[in-house]
């Protein structure tokens, strides 16, 4: 065996290190993600096992077996009594071969090997060479590692290829266009009509070339699987109308009728709006090109778990023999572009690619001389299904890459009363500002909206995720407060970690919902101190807050008493009347702010005198403490209390 690395598992933190190193090595050896994940799990489990004993060591290396090169992991520890055949861990089955042995020196050796699929035989050849040249006596093979590095770099280069090509093709085009514009716009001097005409023609051909490059790029990205759909809930009916309207002029020019046959109501689908618009533009544009009389009709139907769209025309149609080739990029390229057209003919191919990426299908019906009919379907997700699916996808991804993540959920309290959940577009208005705020902290793909809630995905283990979740909470405080003000309904927050809290989507969501409830309960237990010289005022306030569920109150009749009580128990929220005998509100605040321990207590101050409110605002502006006037607005008090806690 060639030893690549030796790692002493000194303590638990080294178990993570072991897992990481094995994962990295597996990736370097081009293992697929499933095998990599399995090996990483093995590394974890077996390292944990040997960690219980003396002198635990993990050795990673390569070994030749028959004609194959294998990755070998050896877990070694000093143990008094040997295990018989296996250590009873499931992970042993993840290896192609596994063996337990006990050495004379009292070491237990757990050895597992996995074949490396080495299609170009590079590793194996290198191995054979090293063996032949007796280089195996060295504990590290630098050349082998260099080879591994090279393999890693190559794959990175391949994935950058698409974007590199795009840039390299477009830049000279841009520069050329810029140059032509400089002359056309007379920046370099006067030009005559002839020159102007020729340059304009040149410019429109540059645009044509740019269009072709864009189309080619779209196709190659779709085929390489490098298209990332930016999905969101989109009103498909609205999208169709919008796309169709951009062709209004063209239709008028050709004297064609546009029939739009879509239901009046809002139909939401989870799609990438730009890409689906592109599909419609391509289909309608195509119909336009080949229709000289009659009409173009767009219709939309809901069919159970999918929606079906039809774009039909009364154009020249396609012959039976040409039909199967309509979507083929090879057959169509360059063909459909007439004089002055900037088409590549790839429009249909691209449309098909986009539809299929969304999980739908497209088909074509046509009669020569009569017209064509394109029908495509898109899956229709229910928001619950979609939520579950999205979480399952995340879990699958995390399982593959052996990572952890948490979900942070913001749930509208409506769900308790309203069984149907929020209506579609109220949900938009309510959740849009919240998701915008979330997306400032995390990436936009990591935030999804359900019927009553928003879920944010946060990478990392529970500890790391919690830090981000705290930031998310701060980020949404303001928009949530505004929404609660408008809608008079509150929100609850919760989170759950995968895999620590639960292993599947249903349980993970359940856990998160449960945590919302637990949080709410914890919040209601928080200590609120009410300071007011009028006992009736204190009572009223108490009753208002009790109606919201709060129960932990303490009271004080003047500033001094309040400060005394705070010395023994710091409240989570202080509600303070400003005008009191002995020590007034200002002084109380002043004293509290001076003390490290009390300066950050959230506060809400009340004042009954209009004059004072102005005076207070100054103070309040500087110290950001909300003010309510007396007599107070019940709703306002509740909301502010909620917000501050």
């Amino acid at each position: 065996m060639i030893e690549l690395e030796k790692l002493r598992i000194r303590d638990k933190s080294f178990i993570v290190e072991a897992r990481r190193k094995v994962q990295a090595l597996a990736q370097d050896l081009k293992f697929d993600s499933l095998r990599t994940a399995r090996l990483a799990i093995c590394a974890s489990e077996l390292s944990r096992y040997i960690c219980h004993y003396q002198e635990p060591v993990l050795i990673m290396g390569l070994e030749r077996r028959d004609t194959d090169t294998c990755l070998k992991l050896v877990f070694k520890c000093k143990k008094e009594k040997p295990e018989k055949e296996s250590v009873g861990l499931k992970t042993e089955k993840f290896f192609d071969g596994f063996k337990v042995s006990y050495t004379a020196e009292g070491f237990e050796m757990l050895e597992g090997y996995t074949h490396i699929k080495d299609p170009e035989f590079k590793l194996t050849q290198e191995f054979v060479r090293l063996e032949k040249e007796k280089l195996l006596r060295f504990s590290k093979s630098e050349e082998l590692i260099a080879l591994l590095d090279q393999v890693k770099r190559l794959s990175q280069v391949k994935s950058d290829f698409v974007s590199t090509v795009s840039h390299e093709l477009r830049t000279p085009l841009s520069i050329t266009k810029l140059g032509i514009n400089l002359v056309l716009h007379r920046i370099t001097g006067e030009i005559n009509e002839k020159q102007k005409e020729i340059l304009s023609d040149a410019k429109s051909n540059i645009d044509r070339l740019a269009g072709i490059i864009d189309d080619l790029l779209d196709i190659s990205k779709i085929e390489a699987g490098k298209v990332e759909l930016k999905r969101g809930w989109v009103d498909i009916a609205g999208l169709i109308r919008h796309a169709a309207s951009s062709f209004k002029l063209n239709l008028e020019e050709k004297n064609l009728e546009l029939k739009v046959n879509i239901p009046e109501k809002r139909i939401d689908v989870y799609v990438d709006p730009d890409k689906i618009t592109q599909v419609f533009i391509n289909l309608i544009g195509n119909a336009l090109k080949f229709t000289d009389k009659g009409y173009i009709e767009i219709s939309l139907q809901e069919r159970g778990k999918e929606i079906a769209c039809v774009v039909a025309d009364t154009g020249v149609g396609i012959s039976e023999e040409d039909l199967p080739r309509a979507f083929s990029k090879f057959e169509q390229f360059g063909r459909l572009a007439g004089p002055g057209e900037k088409g590549t003919g790839l429009g249909l191919t691209i449309a098909k690619g986009i539809i299929e990426l969304h999980g739908g299908k497209i088909s074509l019906d046509s009669t020569l001389g009569q017209g064509s009919k394109f029908t495509f379907t898109l899956p229709k997700h229910s928001k619950e299904d979609f939520l579950h699916e999205s979480i399952e996808k995340r879990i699958a991804g995390a399982r593959k890459e052996n990572t952890e993540f948490s979900i942070f959920i913001i749930r509208s309290d409506d769900h308790l009363e309203n069984e149907k959940g929020l209506e579609e577009d109220r949900a938009q208005r309510v959740f849009l500002p919240i998701s915008a705020a979330l997306e400032k902290v995390i990436q936009s793909g990591d935030c999804i909206t359900g019927t009553d809630e928003i879920i944010a995905f946060v990478q990392g283990n529970k500890e790391e995720a919690l830090k981000v979740i705290t930031r998310l909470r701060m980020a949404i405080k303001a928009p949530v407060f505004e929404i609660e003000e408008q809608r008079k309904k509150g929100f609850s927050y919760g989170y759950a970690a995968y895999p620590e809290d639960a292993g599947n989507a249903k349980d993970l969501l359940g856990w998160a919902y449960g945590s919302c409830v637990r949080e709410r309960e914890a919040k209601l237990k928080k200590a609120i101190m009410i300071v007011d010289d009028e006992p009736e005022a204190r009572d009223v306030l108490k009753r208002i807050l009790q109606a919201s569920g709060y129960s932990n109150f303490s009271e004080a009749g003047d500033g001094q008493e309040a400060l005394e009580k705070i010395k023994t128990a710091i409240p989570d929220l202080l509600i303070l009347d400003m005008k009191m005998p002995l020590m007034n509100g200002y002084e109380v605040i002043g004293m509290l702010k001076e003390n490290m321990e009390t300066k950050d207590i959230p506060m809400l101050i009340m004042s009954g005198y209009a004059v004072e409110i102005d005076k207070l605002e100054e103070y309040v502006k500087k110290k950001s403490i909300p003010v309510v006037g007396k007599p107070f607005d019940v709703e306002q008090i509740r909301r502010l209390t909620d917000y501050l806690l």
Partner: protein
């Protein structure tokens, strides 16, 4: 008074054309083709805006940005970064140093002019 713009980019043809367009719009233009020239021009000229190609070879783009941000005379000068195919790390590093806008060579000139106008006022 004419606003001064410094263009830093190693592609001379592009710089030439860009300079022509911008001068036509009334800006005073200076050019630099590498990080070293960029710094000396920036310090001498004290431009109101710098257009910087972040993808200059040998890390020149980011290097120039770092120097600009570190120098007392230029640390607050707005910089529009010309990106296009910059990778994530470069973009993030640029973000951290402080960038006032992005432009890609594949975009239309009008877009760039708008961005410049927005930054320089009038």
């Amino acid at each position: 008074m004419k606003k001064k713009i410094l263009i830093v980019d190693d592609e001379m043809v592009w710089v030439k054309m860009l300079a022509m367009s911008l001068e036509h719009e009334g800006y005073q233009i200076a050019a630099a083709f590498d990080a070293v020239q960029a710094m000396s021009q920036a310090v001498q000229l004290k431009p109101d805006l710098i257009l910087l190609d972040i993808m200059m070879p040998a890390g020149g783009g980011l290097g120039a940005l770092k120097n600009i941000r570190a120098h007392v005379g230029t640390f607050s000068t707005p910089v529009i970064v010309i990106t296009a195919k910059a990778d994530k790390e470069t973009k993030e590093a640029a973000e951290e140093l402080g960038v006032s806008g992005y432009f890609s060579k594949t975009e239309d000139m009008e877009e760039l002019l708008e961005k410049i106008e927005a930054l320089l006022g009038e």
